[in-house]
């Protein structure tokens, strides 16, 4: 990522306010709209899930400038998700849903540069989560 992209991701996220609940709500709509088959993966109450998602996303966005901290976050998160049976293709679906949710919630603020910045950030997060997932779950299990 470039420093400008990090800045764009953080500042656009900051515009959502301290509790990005609207983003979380929209994200799950977009996600299940794209792939209803993912719904059963979320066994907990969806309202709670949204709070968790928002809190985790906040942590990750804040950690982006410090790679060590980010890796600790995303690897652990990926490791947890490996246990839920999440596949690589699901990461693409999640990425699309996140971009769509951001576009909806940020409106005009989601300009091409901001979009590009989020795509780059998501790639960094997804790749390192997948790294964490691979380390946590031996193949075939």
């Amino acid at each position: 990522m470039t420093p400008e992209q990090i800045e764009l991701v953080q500042s656009s996220f900051e515009r959502l306010g301290p509790d990005p609940a609207a983003l979380a709500t929209r994200f799950y709509q977009e996600l299940f709209g794209r792939d209803p088959g993912l719904r059963p993966l979320f066994t907990t109450d969806l309202a709670l899930q949204k709070v968790r998602f928002a809190a985790k996303l906040t942590e990750i966005v804040q950690a982006i400038p410090r790679l060590d901290e980010l890796l600790a976050q995303t690897r652990a998160l990926g490791a947890r998700h490996a246990g839920y049976g999440v596949r690589v293709a699901d990461y693409n679906t999640v990425g699309e849903a996140l971009l769509a949710a951001l576009a909806a919630v940020l409106g005009d603020g989601f300009d091409p540069a901001t979009r590009e910045a989020w795509i780059t950030a998501y790639s960094l997060v997804a790749e390192t989560m997948l790294q964490g997932a691979a380390d946590a779950r031996p193949i075939g299990r």
Binding site: T2, E7, E14, A55, T58, L67, S123, L130, Q131, R141
Partner: protein, 872 residues
């Protein structure tokens, strides 16, 4: 944070690894074949497959196909063989025995075998591996290079559809960015990321070699946490080998085409068709080595790296012969025109002495593309007695832009001694003054150069421009009042004069608090400059954007200022205009400081200082280091602030916004608990600002004096507010007045004003002060609300540690952990569940909650929910 990993992380290959996993455990597949071009990462992927198999407890083995091993039947697979290679007997028996032995050795578990470069295996090895795979004794992971002939026996293995297949592609731009981020351990400057993409096109092997080579040579370096390319990227020996492998086997005629393109691309297809047989060109295109653009019928190398490597490896005499022949050819076709640049460069590359006239024409063309290095190279090849005034101007400008200020001064002074045209005389004087002011940091010399030129150049539009330029020198050396007085004499309507006038006037007006005029001037200046085009000896058009950002900031329109500065920074990053780049980074730091985003401010200022250091502009560097010290001090980091001040002291003085630079030592004194020294510094700088027309900065200084408990300055602040059309200056005056009489409601209202501007730190301090005043007045309810407001605002200030925040009772921001727990708790989650989710003990969660309650002035979860609602 440089981590040149031996082994790089695997990026963008998870789908392929998933294919491997599914194939391995599906029960239907006997293997996986990985196809792909050279350097795409087939071996790396195959090894990753092997490691994952080993991690899940499967036995693994690795065999490699090669031309030498292929000479010995079964040589490659010797480690698998029962009884070793020397054993005699029939193949069938050998296969059967090997099957039994392997099965026994591995307890019936399938052996995962990577066969790297499988196309190079001998027939017997392939037959054995095929047999073992079909018997489910092994799972075969084979890599095959695209375009390499594959023996029938091998293709037979996967013809039955029981072998999964992946076609590996080069990395996408996004995946390349991710790979670089993970490998370098941090962000990379936009231009450097683009360069690496353009050279490697995502080929992982090239990326690997190029980045390692660049780290080693120091071309890729880290400054202030960001990676930059500072120098030409080296073509290392290993890179040479890699590319040589790809193009080494080409027939002579094809090789000649590649060499020609490497030196002179793009080349017209119509010419190449006369220089090489058509089938040679076709085969090169088919092999993916050259591309033909349909739009213009120009032929280029498909991979930029190939050109780089071929050039480095070509014998000097050979490249010289090609370059000279092409220069002759092009010269015969189009002696003048845009080809002049190419002709001149080729002749220089060939080591020859081109016609000086061609060099100068080429330099003019290169200047239009802002190619200052090339301008310098071309013009330094012209014998100095043949350099005319126009050439001296170009060379002086190029040296200035490249940070060679002393030699710029020499050639510009030399140019002035030649008999120049009046226009060249003007531009030489302007350029020389600019070099003296910005490069050598000698504004008095710049003014003397300007005065000397005014004595000689008297015809009207040019004389007016010189006067406008005098104002420029005054504005940017700390005398905006004098600049505005000088500009009274400039009434001219010439576009170029208007542009120079706007550059001088806009910041001077903004400093005088005449914000609306400053904005209008900067906007008109930009429009005029764009219409004027890119001329010599004049600032970059983006300087007007810098001025707009400044005016917006002085008005307190912080979000707009930030947006414009980000857009402007993008524009100049492409053109590489150092002074303007430094200004945009410093402007972003300045906006972030006022927004209270102090860690961000620190980062931008550090970036500006780094840019200034790299481009050798020590004056603007002083400005950036002042901002760096200021933001560090406001973060409470006295040591870092003192360090930045010490670094600043090693450079020369730089007058632009001089009193603002003094905020740095004043705040460093504040945070070092030397209040008397701090107050003295604020007052001295404010007096300096008052006597030189820096009204908005005087207001900043006096307001900070009040904020840090130094002294009352409400009267002067009100006076300044009446003279400035700036909501920010007005809010500062109201803040100081309300603080003096501890007017709780007015303080809360000012806090809201600051918040609306996005000045969160000032808003938090005013809210905290209002809380204190409400408490004093006995209004506990209003006091609690103000404390909550202050603490919420303080969380947006990225760790600010100013007295106004620290001394306010209770107004302490929530820590990240506390915030996380509060969010979960307010949503009704039980402490036990929160503890489980965050891997904490219930006791720790409850402790955090109690702290948060105390900070937010609530006593229950319901109260938390209410506070969080009022936040959003």
């Amino acid at each position: 944070m440089a981590i040149a990993l031996q082994r790089w992380p695997i990026v963008g290959r998870r789908p392929e690894l998933e294919v491997f996993e599914r194939a391995l455990f599906s029960g239907e597949h006997t293997g996986l074949v990985i196809h792909g071009r050279a350097g795409v990462g087939k071996t790396r992927l195959a090894d990753e497959c092997r490691e994952q198999a080993a991690a899940s407890g499967l036995p693994t083995e690795r065999v490699v196909g090669s031309r030498t091993a292929a000479l010995l039947p079964l040589g490659a697979v010797a480690p698998l063989l029962a009884g070793g290679l020397g054993r005699s007997g029939s193949d069938v028996a050998l296969f059967e025995e090997t099957r039994h032995a392997l099965s026994e050795r591995h307890d019936g578990r399938r052996l995962v075998i990577v066969a790297d470069d499988a196309a190079l295996l001998d027939a017997a090895s392939v037959a054995l591996l095929g047999y073992l795979a079909a018997q489910r004794i092994i799972f075969l992971v084979a890599t095959v290079r695209t375009g390499e002939p594959v023996p029938d026996l091998l293709t037979g293995l996967w013809r039955d559809g029981r072998v999964a297949r992946v076609d590996l592609q080069d990395l996408s731009r996004t995946h390349l960015d991710t790979l670089l981020h993970l490998t370098l351990g941090g962000p990379i400057e936009a231009g450097a990321g683009r360069v690496l993409w353009e050279i490697t096109r995502g080929n992982p092997l090239y990326v690997h070699e190029l980045v390692l080579g660049a780290l080693e040579s120091g071309a890729l370096i880290e400054r202030s946490g960001v990676w930059h390319i500072e120098d030409l990227l080296p073509a290392t020996g290993r890179l040479l080998d890699l590319v040589e492998q790809r193009i080494g086997g080409l027939p002579e005629q094809a090789r000649a085409v590649i060499e020609l393109l490497a030196l002179c691309e793009p080349v017209e297809l119509s010419y190449l068709e006369t220089a090489a047989p058509l089938d040679v060109l076709e085969s090169l295109e088919r092999a993916g080595l050259v591309t033909v653009a349909i739009a213009d019928n120009q032929v280029r190398l498909a991979h930029p790296l190939h050109g780089k490597v071929v050039r480095a490896a070509m014998p000097r005499l050979r490249s010289r012969a090609i370059l000279l022949a092409q220069a002759d050819r092009l010269e015969a076709l189009t002696p003048a025109g845009p080809a002049a640049l190419r002709i001149a460069t080729w002749r220089l590359d060939a080591g020859g002495q081109p016609d000086p006239a061609i060099l100068v024409r080429g330099a003019h063309l290169a200047r239009h593309a802002h190619g200052f290095r090339l301008v310098r190279r071309l013009l330094e090849a012209v014998p100095s007695d043949l350099l005319d005034a126009g050439g001296a101007l170009l060379l002086g400008e190029a040296r200035y832009e490249l940070g060679a200020f002393e030699s710029a001064e020499q050639v510009l002074a030399h140019g002035q001694r030649l008999p120049p045209s009046e226009q060249d005389a003007l531009r030489l004087a302007v350029m020389r003054a600019k070099n003296a002011q910005w490069g050598l940091c000698q504004p008095e010399v710049a003014l003397a150069i300007n005065a000397a030129a005014r004595a000689v150049i008297t015809s009207r539009p040019l004389a007016e421009e010189l006067t406008a330029d005098e104002a420029c020198i005054l504005t940017f050396s700390g005398h905006p009042d004098q600049a505005l007085a000088v500009l009274e004499r400039v009434t001219g309507g010439e576009r170029r004069t208007r542009v120079v006038r706007a550059i001088a006037a806009a910041p001077a007006l903004a400093l005088a608090g005449r914000i609306a005029e400053a904005m209008a001037t900067a906007e008109a200046g930009y429009a005029d400059h764009v219409a004027l085009g890119d001329e010599l000896a004049i600032a970059h058009p983006a300087m007007h954007l810098v001025n707009q950002v400044f005016a917006l900031t002085e008005a307190g329109r912080l979000a707009e200022a930030e947006q414009l500065a980000l857009a402007g920074a993008d524009i100049v990053a492409v053109n590489r205009v150092p002074v303007v780049q430094i200004f945009f980074a410093a402007s972003l730091g300045r906006v972030a400081t006022l927004q209270g985003r102090l860690a961000t401010a620190r980062r931008y200022y550090a970036e500006a200082a780094g840019l200034a250091q790299a481009s050798k502009f020590v004056g603007p560097r002083r400005m950036a280091l002042s901002g760096l010290a200021l933001s560090c001090a406001m973060l409470g980091d006295a040591a870092a602030a003192a360090h930045a001040l010490a670094e600043r002291a090693t450079g020369p003085a730089f007058g632009f916004r001089g009193p603002e630079q003094d905020l740095a030592q004043a705040w460093t004194a504040v945070v070092s608990q030397r209040p008397a020294e701090a107050a003295r510094a604020f007052r001295a700088a404010a007096a300096q600002a008052a006597s030189t027309g820096h009204r908005t900065i005087e207001s900043w200084l006096l307001h900070d004096l009040v904020r840090t408990g130094g002294q009352d300055a409400a009267t002067r602040l009100r006076e300044l507010a009446s003279k400035c059309d700036s909501p920010l200056v007005s809010a500062r005056a109201r803040h100081a007045a309300a603080a003096r009489v501890r007017d709780a409601r007015e303080l809360a209202a000012v806090a809201a004003d600051f918040e609306a501007m996005g000045a969160m730190l000032l808003a938090a301090e005013a809210a905290a002060a209002s809380a204190e005043a409400f408490t004093r007045a006995g209004d506990r309810r209003a006091a609690a609300a103000a404390v909550r407001r202050a603490s919420v605002l303080a969380t947006m200030c990225e760790g600010a540690a100013t007295p106004g925040l620290m001394h306010a009772a209770g107004a302490v921001p929530l820590s990240g952990r506390e915030r996380e727990i509060v969010i979960l708790a307010s949503d009704g989650m039980a402490s036990k569940d929160i503890a489980e989710r965050l891997y904490l003990s219930v006791r720790t969660v409850n402790n955090h909650l109690q702290h948060a309650y105390a900070k937010l002035g609530v006593s229950s979860r319901a109260g938390l929910a209410e506070v969080l609602r009022s936040e959003s």
